[in-house]
């Protein structure tokens, strides 16, 4: 899925033919047993009965999905109405991830373009500068952002001292802080695939557009953007998908009002809620959404190719 990943189909070499299964076996076994089977187990757990204080009773039940989608009143005997709490949390997560993705695109595209149009030597230095933060621990980056934008943090202290503002901005625990955190976490994921697409872009097309009296912005809109669209789409997916299930940015930078899917799920297993089947159901729904996004993406990719 990662942009520019070799699909394996292209290589013609068959020098070690006949050994495919032997060589693939460790990877199949490891991922099959410890990821594929666990995901299946998670889906099974979402249909079991909850044990108080964590864990499950092995008895079939749709209570978890019922709790997710329907409200049956305090004693569970009223006619069901749609329960908006959890759908609302999912919707907010999609919205937050979407805003972060658009912000990454607006900043990431010009950055990627700028880097890809440098000469080879400076290009690798710029690229290095953009990728370094990705290698820094995500928790540390998020904590650093929290430290910087807190009401008594250096950003507010500086703005107060310089007289730009008269009281702290109150950034922390807002939707904006979470969006900023997501943007900050995944920005390199947007820059790299767009960079790869711009690098392949044929500038003769820009010349042709200019010969036909297109201005730079018209050329960008009508010629360049359609050409580098695969990179943009890949970047958007690479930012949107991890943002959707993110835990650290909403948890550390947001508050109760900015609750997202990641925190909802975490609370069922690690927090006070302790409802494993419900957590498993929420995870299964999240996984379904993500797989649907990836499937649509893959289908469009194949149609384009």
């Amino acid at each position: 899925m990662a942009a520019g990943a070799p699909m394996g189909e292209g290589s013609a070499s068959n020098i070690y033919r006949g050994n495919s299964l032997k060589l693939m076996l460790p990877a199949w076994a490891m991922i099959g047993v410890f990821l594929l089977a666990p995901v299946a187990m998670m889906a099974i757990y979402s249909f079991l009965t909850k044990e108080f204080r964590g864990g499950v009773i092995w008895q079939f039940s749709t209570a978890a999905y019922d709790q997710f989608f329907f409200n049956r009143g305090l004693f569970g005997d009223e006619p069901p109405t749609i329960e908006w709490t959890y759908i609302g949390i999912f919707w907010r997560s999609i919205w937050q991830a979407g805003v972060a993705t658009i912000a990454c695109l607006l900043i990431g595209f010009p950055t990627a373009w700028f880097i890809a149009t440098r000469d080879a030597k400076t290009r690798s230095v710029w690229l290095f500068l953009v990728t370094v933060p990705y290698w820094v621990n995500l928790l540390i980056r998020t904590v650093s952002m929290k430290f910087l934008i807190r009401d008594t943090g250096p950003l507010n202290e500086f703005l107060l001292w310089s007289g730009t503002i008269s009281e702290p901005l109150g950034l922390i625990n807002t939707n904006f802080a979470v969006q900023l955190g997501l943007f900050y976490s995944y920005l390199p994921f947007m820059v790299l695939p767009i960079y790869a697409a711009v690098e392949r872009y044929d500038f003769a097309l820009s010349e042709a557009a200019a010969d036909l009296y297109a201005g730079v912005w018209t050329t960008l809109r009508l010629v360049i953007l359609p050409e580098v669209k695969p990179g943009i789409v890949a970047g958007c997916i690479l930012v949107f998908v991890p943002s959707l299930g993110a835990f650290l940015a909403p948890d550390l930078l947001g508050g109760a009002k900015t609750f997202m899917i990641g925190s909802l799920i975490e609370e069922q297993f690690k927090g006070a809620a302790g409802n494993w089947p419900f957590g498993a159901a929420a995870s299964t729904i999240l996984l379904t959404i993500v797989m649907a996004v990836l499937l649509v993406y893959a289908r469009n990719q194949n149609r384009g190719a």
Partner: protein
């Protein structure tokens, strides 16, 4: 050609790039600077000092963080070595054994850890280990880390393997080397830079992980990220900033190493 450079330039793109770098680096630089703050208050500047670095190694929380650091490094090194070995074998299968049944499926399986959201992997792993009666602890962390490190090791390794033509191995086999010998004596040495950068990437990814580790770690076992997270929940203390700066330094050293290795590999490929 001045006309050509004009077509590449858009007004404001340089400004956005600078802005992008400022956003990426400002929080890290600010924390690094404040970690040298002498004051116990984390926002007032009280002069330069190494007090918090001393605190990290000798302070009341030092044993906890030291144990967490040891756990983190042991897990990261073990997980990335195993993941790199698995990924190298898989790369050979994917790039050098021609077509085989289930090739597309194999690629999908290898990329699966990248596609499944982290929190879902975390839940799935916890549920699975509980269901089969595995006690959560260092071992469960290690297994989970190996799984999500495999694609990160696989991508650079298979990319590099694809860029090396198989003529060297062909030549070796023409001279009566067995496939195993060709792999061991010809392909592996050629692959060293690719394997190293795969290993480094897997190592950093393992060291970075918080969410999955937090789910499968079990009571009392901590890695650096989970220990830091637990501490940050009670407020950002100066010793956390010192630890963060140390980890920042380690990451920068690793990424620089990987960059230099990658460049050396490219130069070597050009010579070939």
């Amino acid at each position: 050609m001045p006309a050509k450079t004009d077509l590449r330039r858009f007004p404001g793109f340089l400004t956005v790039t600078i802005l992008c770098l400022i956003v990426l680096y400002a929080p890290l630089i600010v924390v690094a600077v404040y970690s040298f703050n002498a004051s116990t208050s984390i926002t007032r500047w009280g002069g330069t000092s190494l007090a918090w670095y001393v605190d990290v190694f000798t302070g009341p929380e030092a044993p906890k963080f030291q144990q967490a650091a040891i756990n983190s490094f042991v897990i990261a090194i073990t997980a990335s070595i195993i993941a790199t070995a698995i990924a190298t074998l898989a790369s050979v299968a994917m790039t050098r054994t021609g077509r085989f049944n289930g090739k597309t499926l194999s690629f999908a399986l290898i990329s699966l850890p990248l596609m499944v959201p982290e929190v879902v992997t975390a839940v799935a792993s916890l549920v699975f280990f509980t269901a089969i009666g595995f006690t959560t602890g260092l071992m469960t962390i290690l297994i989970a880390h190996i799984v999500f490190c495999i694609p990160f090791a696989y991508l650079p390794i298979s990319a590099r393997m694809q860029s090396i033509p198989d003529m060297y191995e062909q030549a070796a086999m023409d001279l009566y080397a067995t496939p195993r010998e060709a792999f061991k004596l010809v392909l592996l040495p050629l692959m060293t830079p690719g394997i190293l950068s795969g290993f480094l990437l897997a190592f950093i990814i393992s060291l970075d992980d918080f969410l999955i580790t937090n789910f499968v770690k079990g009571a009392g076992v901590e890695t650096l990220p989970t220990a830091i997270f637990g501490s940050v929940k009670q407020g950002i203390k100066p010793n956390i900033m010192a630890i963060s700066t140390l980890m920042l330094g380690i990451s920068v050293i690793f990424v620089s190493l990987s960059w230099l290795i990658g460049r050396a590999g490219q130069n070597k490929a050009k010579e070939n």
